[in-house]
Amino acid sequence: MPSYLFWLFSTIMLIGGAAVVAFRNPVSSALSVVTCFIGLAGLFIGLSAFFVGIIQILVYSGAVMVLFLFIIMLLDLKDEQKRAKGFAPLAAGIGLAIAFVVQLIGVLSRTPNKVAPPLDAQSLAAAAGNFVPGTKIAAALKDGRLPDVHLIGHTLFTQYNLPFQILGVLLLVATVGVVVLSKKQAE
């Protein structure tokens, strides 16, 4: 990823993140979160993780935040637009941010400073040996392309098959639960 693209997207992300807090209007804040997510998706795509980046936009910007925005608009929050009162919420927010930064520094200081392997044709072709010859993944790697969608699918369904299935059941349970709860309220 060219470094200027990294700086562009991380700037977009940071501006979006700061704007979430700075705006008094909840709708503006929600849209800033969307901007932030789009910057994040740009970073993912810059790291050749096309699938993750696209899913970031599809799920978070396209579905989750739309519902957020929806709720905010329907609630029509008036109180939130007034100036924040009191010192306590501000202090708590800054405290939380500092706690996260400390944690981040802790994690980063323990991670060895590894350079990511280059994604050139040679290293990709070498990686093709790890997969069954003749499959789509091996063929794409030999061509010098990164089949990121196929690789994610392969990893999910071979190494993490059981957790993946359990996650699916969990989502199903959540869906059924929502239906049951909403039906109960209607009666």
Binding site: V34, I54, I55, G62, F70, E187
Partner: protein, 419 residues
């Protein structure tokens, strides 16, 4: 080797040529088709006069291009109208909303393959702006951002009908995105590929998804697996096409702008070019939706019947221009599908909102899910034993019957809501 500047120039040329010279003109053309075609359906003539008014200069007859200039006249009219911003609207969002509806539709153009590669001066160039390996997902992701434009338009207008229109539209688009995404899973399973260019190439070589009648350039009946896969392919096609109608807010699903209930829907408070942008956004979404359907199910740029190899070989010296012929074929298919969109709009009456939601959640969602399993069973069948295939088929039928039964039972006694 082409250096960075050269590549950048090629990308820019592609963006300008494909987005602004191919897709954008399709918007006014489809408006023209819409007006002429609906006139034919309603036994009228439609706009056929706009042209060069030669009679003003003393000639005997006007020169009319069968009214083909009508969309241009409409555009000029919208440009020159007063751009009125009502008081009490939320200004920033009110101005942002029209742009947010048009931009995503035009961005999605970049993954659509318009034709086979063109070779010029020994340099091979694909007729696609960005040859992404996540094509259909990219289209879904970016077009899901259109919702923001419509929602914000509804909310920022600070008026009740636009708000209801915006809310309806958001609910509708999110609901049908699920059916849309699920319905193409069989297609993606079949191709094993998310790159739209390769999907089209595969269809050119092995027969279109809905017309698998040739194999490697020679006509012939498909093998058993491909023939069986035709069934889930048709189901996927139906669900996908109807969901695209709902996603683009077209008739019979245009409840967000249903005049009898909501004045004009989310764009009631908009005028002049801002209104035109919403209008353009709707038609651009229709064009892109048709392009996606043609690409996934109807062979994209391929002429079919094993003729694509010969077309790709056409050349004058070092200039292989077969890709341009393919571009023409693609646009012909696209326009044919747009005409189908228009035909549906002027023949099918509007749904009621609860019917719309029911169709999305109760029928399409389940049908798409079952279709995924059916397709998976057919694709995996050659590697399974007969017993497992049998068990799978029985399970599938049982699940289908159970779902149909549940849908019927839940329909029978609707309990009145008590406040």
């Amino acid at each position: 080797m082409p250096d960075l500047l050269f590549q950048l120039a090629i990308i820019l040329v592609k963006i300008v040529a494909l987005t602004f010279c191919v897709v954008l003109p399709l918007v006014p053309i489809s408006v023209y088709f819409e007006r002429r075609f609906c006139a034919v359906i309603q036994d009228r003539v439609g706009p056929n006069r706009t042209g060069i008014p030669l009679t003003l200069l003393g000639f005997k007859k006007d020169f009319h291009f069968f009214g083909l200039i009508q969309p241009m006249a409409d555009g000029v009219k919208l440009f020159l109208k007063e751009d009125f911003t009502p008081n009490y609207v939320r200004k920033a969002f009110y101005w942002l909303a029209p742009a947010l509806t048009v931009a995503p539709a035009l961005i999605t153009v970049c993954v659509v393959p318009f034709g086979s590669p063109i070779t010029l001066f020994g340099h091979k160039e694909n007729l696609v702006i960005a040859d992404l390996d996540v094509g259909p997902l990219f289209v879904f992701a970016v077009s899901s951002l259109t919702v923001y434009g419509i929602t914000l338009a509804g909310w920022s207008s600070n008026s009740k009908y636009p708000l209801i229109g915006g809310v309806r539209s958001t609910a509708q688009m999110i609901s049908y995105e699920i059916a849309l995404g699920l319905s193409i899973i069989p297609v993606l399973l079949y191709f094993g590929e998310l790159n739209l260019g390769k999907i089209v190439q595969h269809q050119a070589d092995h027969g279109w998804l809905l017309l698998p009648l040739w194999q490697n350039g020679s006509l012939g009946l498909p093998d058993l697996q491909t023939a069986l896969f035709w069934i889930p392919a048709v189901i996927a096609f139906l669900i996908f096409t109807i969901s695209i109608f709902a996603e683009t807010n077209r008739m019979p699903f245009d409840l967000p702008e249903c005049e009898t209930e909501l004045v004009g829907g989310y764009h009631t408070e908009y005028s002049s070019m801002k209104f035109a942008l919403f209008f353009m956004g709707e038609y651009a979404a229709m064009v892109i939706g048709s392009a996606l359907i043609v690409t996934l199910f109807l062979g994209g740029w391929s002429l079919g019947f094993g003729l694509d190899k010969y077309i790709a070989d056409f050349h004058i010296g070092g200039f292989h221009f077969g890709g341009l012929i393919h571009l023409g074929i693609f646009i012909a298919k696209l326009i044919a599908f747009i005409l189908f969109f228009i035909l549906v709009r002027w023949t099918v009456p509007r749904f009621r909102y609860d019917q719309l939601m029911k169709l999305g959640w109760v029928i399409f969602f389940e049908a798409a899910l079952i279709n995924v399993f059916l397709a998976a069973l057919i694709i995996a069948a050659p590697e399974l034993t007969a017993a497992i295939i049998g068990i799978g088929a029985v399970l599938l039928i049982a699940v289908t019957a159970a779902i149909i039964w549940v849908a019927k039972v839940s329909e029978e006694h609707p309990k009145p809501l008590r406040a």
